[in-house]
């Protein structure tokens, strides 16, 4: 599948979309898990089953918190949602399209067009300026730089880092890095935002602030958000919570 790059429209549209007052939540299904299982081979013994028969759905504009103990399969669930990994059984659908039958390239393009990722350890390129980090998805997609840069600067303004666009990423604090990572994830207006313990590496105050931003921006951008967290308080802010226990999903 050759997905056409989502065009970044004119500056007025950029400004409108960067404006938090505009949001277009949609109830269409963005992400669907159908009887998904995932097992990893182990040396000399039976495969280790991380997810068992998981079925769930995320609608447009919704926020879902995934909770569970360490090793319960939370990150694996996110990897499957992003098409980074593939299920051993069952089906993952992104925007109504099954990822199972797609080639690596097609899954990559689907991820590029529809998914934004936020990681626990930020994964910024420390030797690049903040703006270049935010622009990375646009560079990968080959978007027009001028428009992408406008959008990136607008996002950085919204996370209160507009003045640090030209600083090297390595100079930022943890909280600032995660805010930059959120901007990067939202740059191309993904329909699905996946965040793997986005506050796990931050102090309580910074974590609060980052989560606040993430939820607000996702809502404003109309993106569905699935985030993994260990915090009950942060999980409580989601529209719904998925609890993973021994690889099985319990809807709270």
């Amino acid at each position: 599948m050759q997905a056409s790059p989502k065009p970044l429209s004119d500056p007025r549209e950029v400004a409108r979309e960067a404006d938090p007052r505009h949001s277009f939540p949609s109830m269409d299904s963005i992400l669907t898990f159908r009887n998904v299982s995932k097992a990893y081979p182990t040396a000399g013994s039976a495969p280790r089953e991380v997810l068992r028969d998981v079925s769930a759905e995320v609608g447009g504009g919704r926020a879902v918190a995934v909770v569970g103990r360490s090793g319960s399969g939370k990150s694996t669930l996110l990897h499957l949602a992003a098409g980074i990994d593939q299920p051993s059984a069952g089906e993952v659908e992104l925007l109504g399209r099954s990822l199972g039958g797609l080639s690596d390239r097609e899954r990559t393009l689907a991820r590029r067009e529809s998914v934004g990722l936020v990681f626990q350890f930020f994964h910024l390129l420390p030797q690049l300026p903040v703006i270049e980090n935010v622009l990375l998805p646009a560079v990968i997609a080959g978007d027009r730089r001028a428009l992408a840069e406008q959008r990136a600067l607008a996002l950085l303004e919204r996370v209160e880092l507009g003045g640090r666009a030209d600083d090297l990423a390595e100079k930022l604090s943890g909280g600032e890095m995660q805010r930059v990572a959120i901007c990067r994830a939202l740059l191309r207006r993904p329909r699905l935002l996946l965040a793997d313990e986005p506050t796990g590496n931050l102090d309580e105050q910074s974590g609060e602030r980052v989560m606040e931003l993430l939820l607000r921006l996702a809502r404003d951008e109309g993106s569905a958000l699935v985030y993994v967290t260990h915090s009950r308080e942060l999980a409580a802010r989601a529209d719904e919570t998925w609890r993973l226990h021994d690889g099985r999903l319990e809807l709270a």
């Binding site: 980074i84 690596d104 990559t108 590029r112 390129l125």
Partner: protein, 844 residues
């Protein structure tokens, strides 16, 4: 500790077998380049003395003449001297041998005539049944079994050789393995009775040297003095050590040049070790940081790194030594060609490997590996634990250092260049010092260039520019690889410019000096020189041929000027054409012939430079009557050799050194006579004589073919350095692929396809190649200027006019780009397979 070193090495191999192999290959190729050149250098010297040693068995002293030969009447005077146990008269002459097979080239036979009954201390002896046969049988000759087998000869078989224009029939009288006596003796050595050699091949009553065996109770130095007094001026007494030193001096410039080039290959190999060790250290920085945090001092860290590097060096050296021997064997032919063309030495036919050469190669490999490891090891051991634990701090310090290194490199170059142009002016070492400084400046600028090239890019997509920027942000390993490539490219470009300039200069020179229409010489001329004579009958026939207006004659032999071996040549200065025969760089061409007729000489540029001669100076030359002084009337360009020579009038030559037949003839034809048709006619008319007759055009063409052959070994060394450098590109990209696994995974997670990652890596290979070429071009120009204006002028004594072979250089740049792109394919494939799942908590 040894156990730890081995375990660490095993871990290194497991972690990246390809990286490890490339580092070993770098050391191995560097060692191979050094060893092969040293073997060839050593064996070139051995070939010089091997055959005479095989015949006379290592005499303590030799008597030689100041002219080309010496009269045999002095033998009784030598034998009469107290302390002389035995004296062996020798006449050594190269003769031309028809090819063994029709498609083979003409060969030579190195004939040594001796008194086969003289009590020489040689290990070979004729069987009692053969005694007497050398005298009884006309043309009796003893040859080695291997030559007989190659030529298909059996005992008693006859075969034809030519000495000068004479054709002579010889008979295989005995098969003797001379190489058992003297391992470096030529396989093409043949021994005859002295009287037969003089009569059939050389000159009756003449000798080339007398080998003297000294009584056990006599002192060599004392005997030398007494013999010199007894023989008087016109004779020289030389010990084997003096002969070796003379041969060594003769080849010094040639050997030095090849050694310097082979060291560049080793240097490029050291870069690879540097890159590999640096990569291993960066990979282990956290472990080292934790160790340092827990109280480990710097020294144990350094020790472990150096131990690992030593093992790497041992492996590289073990592989490099057999490779070096193979390379030496494969290139013996082309080096032999150069030795024959430039120095008239014997071909290297057998490669001998002395233990000290192996030790030298092993030392070079181990030292190279240690040197390559030491710098990154010192660098890492100097870092504080905090910097080791935060990877980007190391990159940051490398980025900061890059500018300082570039300034230091260029500062060094400016300083050394100024010194070479002022206080070191004229010293042969100054050219090499500038060349080394150019390479240092080039290598030290690589990190700066990588950053300068990538710093300002704001790439729109995953493209070449993106790759350039990524390299700029992680300059450590890439800078070393670019440095290696720039060094090899500098050498390639410099030699291309130098050889191209040299070739152009030689072509112009040939045009200026080859003015005759037809040139006549003999098949044995190239090796035998003064002994390859044109008979009076041939000279007469040439002069009588229709269409031939003038016959110019030339004689050449080797003599001495203040212990300096020089070529002494004579031509007819009375001919009207004499004024245009040489290209004078100093002196008045219109007055030169007249000065020559009055006894002056023209000196070649190499001699003028080495002996600091100017027009109007007097040049002392040893003659049979003792040392004589010759006024210098001019200095001429001469690219035929670097040992230097003089030209004088043929009559003056005959008076000073004795009359003899000419060795070559140059024919000036009447206007309108076709040269090629004359050549055909001459060949038919003189078919009974062994002659090589060529038109002016053909001679020029062959001179340029010889020129090209001379640089064959240089091309090999260029190739080896480039191969190592391209391995460096692969190594650097593999290191990047591994060190940047998390970054690549991030790109994949953010939507980069495998194809994009592949392209990005290829782009990085291309960026490294482009940076290497840019730096290499700058270094190549600097190195070429050093080679042309300093090394060639001060070491060989040649003035070369600079020419720029632009198309060749562009072709080489394109080939390096293509090769670097290919070198990037494997790492790019590895990188493109990097899954997004590789994203770990490691810092990017």
């Amino acid at each position: 500790m040894r156990g730890y070193g081995l375990r660490a090495l095993q871990a290194q191999v497991r972690a990246g077998p390809m990286l490890f192999l490339l580092a070993v290959l770098g050391v191995a190729l560097g060692v191979a380049a050094v060893l092969s050149i040293q073997i060839l250098n050593q064996n070139a010297l051995g070939a010089f003395a091997g055959s005479v040693e095989a015949v006379s068995g290592g005499a303590a002293l030799s008597v030689v003449g100041s002219g080309p030969e010496l009269p045999e009447q002095i033998l009784p005077r030598v034998l009469a001297e107290r302390g002389v146990q035995a004296a062996v008269p020798l006449y050594r002459i190269d003769v031309a041998l028809p090819p063994a097979l029709p498609d083979r080239r003409e060969g030579t036979l190195e004939v040594v005539g001796t008194d086969v009954f003289a009590p020489a201390r040689s290990a070979w002896r004729l069987s009692p049944a053969d005694l007497g046969a050398p005298l009884r049988t006309p043309g009796w000759v003893a040859v080695s079994p291997s030559l007989a087998s190659e030529m298909g000869w059996k005992l008693g078989d006859g075969f034809e050789v030519s000495s000068g224009s004479r054709r002579v029939r010889l008979t295989v009288g005995a098969l003797i393995d001379f190489q058992r006596t003297s391992p470096l003796a030529s396989r093409r050595l043949a021994v005859m009775d002295l009287a037969q050699v003089q009569a059939l091949l050389g000159a009756p009553g003449r000798l080339q040297q007398i080998d003297v065996f000294v009584r056990a109770d006599a002192q060599v130095a004392e005997l030398t003095g007494r013999l010199q007094d007894r023989l008087g001026p016109g004779f020289r007494l030389v010990t084997p050590e003096q002969r070796s030193a003379e041969a060594g001096g003769l080849l010094a410039a040639f050997r030095l040049n090849l050694t310097a080039l082979s060291l560049v290959s080793l240097l490029v190999g050291v870069f690879l070790v540097y890159a590999s060790v640096q990569a291993a250290l960066l990979r282990r920085r956290e472990e080292l940081g934790v160790r340092r945090s827990l109280g480990a001092t710097r020294r144990p860290v350094l020790t472990v790194i150096l131990e690992e590097a030593s093992l790497l060096g041992v492996l590289g050296t073990s592989l490099g030594i057999p490779l070096g021997i193979l390379a030496a064997r494969a290139n013996a032919g082309s080096v032999s060609g150069t030795l024959r063309n430039l120095y008239l030495l014997e071909a290297i036919e057998r490669i001998e490997l002395s233990p000290w050469l192996v030790a030298l190669a092993a030392g070079a490999g181990l030292a190279g590996a240690a040197a390559g490891a030491l710098l990154p090891a010192l660098d890492v051991s100097r870092q504080d634990p905090r910097a080791l634990l935060a990877g980007h701090a190391l990159q940051e310090s490398a980025r900061r250092r890059a500018g300082r290194l570039a300034v230091a490199g260029w500062g060094l170059l400016v300083g050394v260049s100024l010194a070479a142009l002022t206080v070191w002016r004229g010293r042969p070492a100054s050219g090499f010092a500038v060349a080394a400084a150019v390479l240092a400046a080039v290598a030290l600028s690589s990190g700066w260039l990588l950053q300068a090239a990538g710093r300002h890019w704001k790439p729109r997509r995953l493209s070449l520019a993106y790759g350039a920027r990524a390299l700029a942000s992680r300059p450590q390993t890439a800078a070393v690889a670019v440095g290696a490539l720039a060094t090899a490219t500098s050498m390639l470009a410099a030699i291309t410019i130098m050889v191209g300039s040299f070739r152009e200069t030689v072509e112009v020179w040939l045009g200026q000096t080859l003015r005759a229409d037809v040139y006549v010489t003999t098949p044995s001329w190239r090796q035998a020189r003064s002994e390859a004579r044109l008979s009076p009958e041939v000279m007469e026939l040439l002069a009588r041929q229709p269409g031939v207006r003038v016959v110019d004659r030339q004689r050449q032999f080797f003599g001495y000027s203040k212990e300096r071996r020089i070529s002494i040549a004579g031509f007819d200065a009375r001919l009207p054409e004499a004024g245009t025969r040489v290209a004078l760089m100093a002196g008045d061409p219109s007055r030169a012939p007249e000065a020559l007729l009055r006894g002056a000489v023209l000196v070649s540029e190499p001699l003028a430079r080495k002996a600091h001669l100017r027009v109007g100076d007097a040049l002392p030359i040893d003659t049979p009557a003792g040392e004589a002084s010759f006024p210098v009337a001019g200095v001429y360009h001469d690219y035929g050799g670097d040992s230097g020579g003089v030209l004088m009038d043929l009559e003056v030559l005959a008076v000073r050194f004795g009359p003899d037949q000419p060795n070559n003839a140059a024919l000036y034809l009447a206007a309108g006579v076709d040269a090629e048709a004359t050549v055909d006619r001459l060949r038919a008319a003189l078919s009974g004589h062994a002659l090589v007759i060529r038109s002016n055009q053909r001679l020029r063409q062959q001179a340029l073919e010889i020129f090209d052959q001379t640089f064959a070994v240089t091309r090999l060394l260029q190739g080896m350095a480039l191969l190592i450098a391209l391995s460096g590109v692969t190594l650097a990209l593999l290191v990047l692929a591994r060190d940047r696994a998390a970054e690549l995974a991030l790109h994949r997670a953010l939507g980069a396809t495998r194809g994009q990652v592949f392209g990005m890596f290829l782009g990085q290979g291309l960026t490294m190649a482009l940076d290497g070429i840019v730096l290499g071009a700058a270094g190549g120009v600097g190195l070429a200027l050093a080679l042309v204006f300093l090394v060639n002028r001060d070491t060989f004594g040649w003035t070369i006019d600079l020419h720029w072979p632009l198309w060749t250089l562009l072709g080489e740049a394109a080939a390096i780009l293509a090769a670097a792109t290919l070198a990037g394919v494997y790492p790019a494939l590895r990188a493109s397979r990097s899954p997004a799942l590789e994203l770990s908590r490691d810092a990017l």
